[in-house]
């Protein structure tokens, strides 16, 4: 891969997570993106605690991020992608959790009764 493409690696990984899980909201019946207030209330403590841990560890030199495989912008010393990680991964897990909770109501394959909209 060329250097220019290399820098997008981390962002592309996160982007694929969102693309792969998007059908869970669109056709799977998960209501995560459509409950923005609940989503925000959930993400605030998660980002505060786990990005906080990340910041301390990076400050401490426990781990660091490749300049080659991340984009240039840094926020408080972390690549923007790392900040996005703390939004993307929790959202993906919530989508899985919500689809599992809908059971047969989520997808339309049972009895042809639809998703109950």
């Amino acid at each position: 891969m060329s250097d220019a493409v290399d820098a997008w690696q981390y962002l592309l990984v996160l982007g694929s997570c969102l693309i792969v899980t998007l059908p869970l909201e669109v056709i799977g019946g998960a209501r995560v993106y459509r409950r923005p207030k609940a989503l925000l209330a959930t993400l605030v403590p998660v980002v505060a605690i786990f990005a906080g841990w990340d910041l301390i560890a990076v400050h401490h030199g426990d781990w660091w991020f490749s300049a080659r495989y991340t984009l240039r912008p840094r926020l408080a010393g972390l690549p923007v992608e790392e900040w996005l990680f703390f939004l993307v991964v929790p959202v993906c897990s919530l989508l899985a959790y919500e689809v599992l909770g809908r059971g047969a109501r989520g997808f339309t394959w049972r009895n042809g009764r639809g998703a109950g909209r």
Binding site: V13, P45, D62, W63, F86, S93
Partner: protein
């Protein structure tokens, strides 16, 4: 050998489980759906984290003294799974807690039972 991250990766899941059992009390840990979500998320973590931590071209690199240097599968520091479990458990418990509060604040809707 243990590093700071090793200790954190052991303590964080314990701390999050303790918060769920004593403060949030959503009962999520007793639900199969929670454990299935954890299994799915950790399975995806192997793929994503495997790519991020591969030693041949790491996106994230670790100071050897900070980790146990047990890397499995591939080059993933095992500590990452403690971090992942804690983060996802807090996410799901906070989500349940938030939805419950929303439901409790809303007057009962007829025909919803």
């Amino acid at each position: 050998m243990t590093g700071d991250y090793t200790i954190g990766a052991i303590c964080a899941p314990v701390a999050v489980v303790a918060v769920e059992l004593t403060v949030l009390r959503t009962g999520i840990l007793r639900r199969p759906r929670f454990w299935v979500t954890i299994a799915i998320t950790l399975a995806f973590q192997v793929a994503v984290d495997g790519w991020l931590t591969k030693l041949s071209a790491p996106i994230v690199a670790y100071r050897p003294g900070a980790i146990s240097e047990v890397r499995w599968p591939w080059d993933i520091p095992v500590e990452d799974f403690g971090f992942g479990f804690a983060m996802i458990t807090l996410t799901l418990a906070a989500w349940e807690w938030t939805l419950r509060r929303e439901r409790a604040a809303r007057p009962a809707e007829p025909g919803h039972e």
